[in-house]
């Protein structure tokens, strides 16, 4: 009689609280990864390779840690029937989306590390800052989802706006590297790749924000 236990399992407050804690920790984790990425862009431009390497390791470590949290959520809470089936799916989907942001941040820092010999244009740093703001807002949107739908929706719209601004910075960077003749082909390729992955962090944040908005609309 699995279904009855599903219903009664939904009364396990400890598991539910832990699930919500994990999702909030993941939102903090993605924001932290994005912040580190921003610092890394700054250090990359300043040529502080040692610091860049440290940040790369920190982001990779953070990504592994978030993977463990996601597994804990899936294997120790969601499959224990802590929630109703629809709520279980929604939490799982949210964790997958947030994890994808951290994965993207890891990819971005690895590209940066690959191009450590090069000095990126200043726009790379501006782009990273915009992306950081984007994930910062997303973290708040996740936090408010539990207590205030309208506030959460308002913040996700801000995430959308910041993502658009991040894309503007990305194309400013393209303009700079392709048209001023200052960079070699290898540098151009590397900077375009780095900008693509940094911007993708904002794009993934927007996708996650859209999902939060969908949840808020569905339930409000």
């Amino acid at each position: 009689m699995g279904t009855f236990s599903k219903i009664f399992g939904s009364g396990d407050k400890k598991l539910q609280e832990r699930a919500n804690e994990i999702l909030l920790e993941m939102s903090k984790g993605l924001q932290s990864a994005s912040a580190k990425l921003c610092v890394a862009a700054d250090e990359w431009r300043d040529g502080n390779i040692k610091v860049l390497e440290e940040i790369r390791d920190e982001i990779i470590k953070l990504e592994r840690e978030m993977d463990r949290k996601k597994e804990e959520l899936t294997e120790q809470i969601l499959c224990q029937r802590a929630f109703l089936p629809q709520q279980t799916e929604e939490r799982h989907q949210l964790s997958v989306l947030m994890d994808s942001i951290i994965d993207t941040a890891e990819h971005a820092i690895r590209v940066m590390w690959t191009g450590r010999r090069f000095k990126p244009p200043e726009t790379m740093e501006k782009l990273s800052k915009k992306v950081w703001s984007c994930t910062d807002q997303l973290q708040d949107a996740v936090k408010y989802l539990y207590s205030d739908f309208s506030k959460s929706m308002e913040i996700t719209r801000e995430v959308d706006r910041l993502r658009e601004e991040a894309r503007d910075r990305e194309f400013e960077l393209f303009e700079e590297v392709f048209n001023n003749g200052k960079y070699s082909a290898a540098e151009i390729q590397l900077f375009v790749e780095a900008a693509h992955w940094i911007t993708k962090v904002a794009v993934q944040s927007e996708v996650t924000g859209d999902y939060l908005r969908e949840l808020a609309v569905r339930y409000s």
Partner: protein, 342 residues
């Protein structure tokens, strides 16, 4: 009565009950909202059918189709032809397409066919002129009224639900509401399955409970069993097995192939069906529970802006339209076949 004949009559009652159970869609909202898996739904519904039939079916006094023929009582052959043809059409629809149809409409169609053909097989005093067309018209009017009232009723009730839903500002509070709705839905549908079985068993075993063989009491060791329990138990078991073996398809159709449900919308639809049926019965409107439920599901899907699968809805409505004429044809054929044995 000859034991073989008695067993045959009980077998017919069982098959009719099996067919009725196989088209029982009451648990569909719980499956659609994923409060119950389909297996749990049919098992819980099956247990409910047996308990409901035995405990609540004792007041069985229904004279199958008698109100449609001016209160005249159908002959035994005609009653069995009606029940058998109803069972045939219910099983065909349930097994082939899994479409939910109204048992009452099957009976209406079958009675029309049986009564119309009766003079041709030598049963005097019957024919199309005996049929009370005003009652038939009332029942037909119910076809139109049931979905409309079901739709409006569910929309109104879900509107009230939405007022409470809006009080929840965040996900935590809303999910708590959904969990409460899931508990309430489970309890409500278990209760519904009990009362529904008490009603539906009448269609299957009404001709059996009046037999003298079941009027006394049976002594079984230290227990004294009321004779009426036997046909009711057979009816309840038939409905339970029908639900478990055949009913999955019908439940799946309504649960997942009309619209998307969650515990709150499913509860709103289920409560509205009960309320609409209660009020309808009170004021004498001939409503069909199946029609009201389908309309209620569409209503909550429409309000929550969930996609409505119109192809499935069209198939269901089509099955409702053809039920009466096809049941009538089956009724006539079955009467011609079985009449010589009575």
């Amino acid at each position: 009565m000859d034991v073989t004949l008695l067993l045959l009559i009980l077998l017919v009652g069982f098959i009719v009950a099996f067919a009725i159970g196989g088209n029982d869609e009451a648990m569909a909202p719980a499956v659609g909202a994923r409060v119950f898996t389909i297996t749990v739904a049919v098992v819980v519904g099956g247990i409910g059918s047996i308990i409901g039939a035995v405990i609540l079916g004792r007041g069985v006094s229904e004279k199958v189709g008698s109100e449609m023929v001016g209160g005249n009582q159908l002959t035994t052959a005609m009653v069995f032809a009606t029940l058998i043809s109803m069972a045939i059409w219910l099983l065909i629809v349930s097994v082939s397409k899994g479409l939910p149809i109204s048992t009452t409409q099957c009976i209406v169609g079958s009675v029309i066919g049986v009564v119309a053909v009766a003079p041709l097989v030598g049963i005097a005093g019957w024919g199309a002129d005996v049929i009370s067309w005003s009652v038939i018209f009332e029942i037909f009017a119910g076809w139109i009224l049931s979905p409309i009232i079901g739709f409006i009723g569910a929309a109104l009730i879900f509107h009230i639900f939405r007022i409470f839903q809006r009080r929840a500002a965040g996900l935590s509070a809303r999910e708590r509401q959904e969990r409460i709705a899931a508990y309430a839905l489970a309890a409500f549908l278990i209760f519904t399955s009990l009362s529904r079985a008490g009603n539906d068993v009448a269609n299957a075993v009404a001709p059996l409970v009046v037999l003298p063989e079941f009027q006394g009491a049976f002594i079984l060791g230290p227990f004294i069993i009321d004779g009426i329990v036997i046909p009711l138990l057979i009816g309840g078991t038939g409905m339970a097995l029908g639900l478990i073996v055949v009913g999955r398809k019908v439940i799946r159709t309504l649960a997942t192939e009309v619209t998307t449900l969650n515990p709150t919308t499913a509860l709103a639809a289920s409560i509205s069906v009960s309320l609409v049926m209660f009020v309808g019965t009170y004021v004498g409107l001939p409503l069909s529970g199946t029609h009201v439920l389908v309309a209620a599901l569409i209503a909550v899907g429409w309000i929550t802006q969930k996609p409505i699968k119109m192809k499935q809805v069209r198939d269901i409505v089509l099955s409702w339209i053809v039920t009466v004429p096809i049941s009538a044809v089956f009724g006539a054929i079955v009467l011609i076949i079985i009449n010589p044995y009575f």
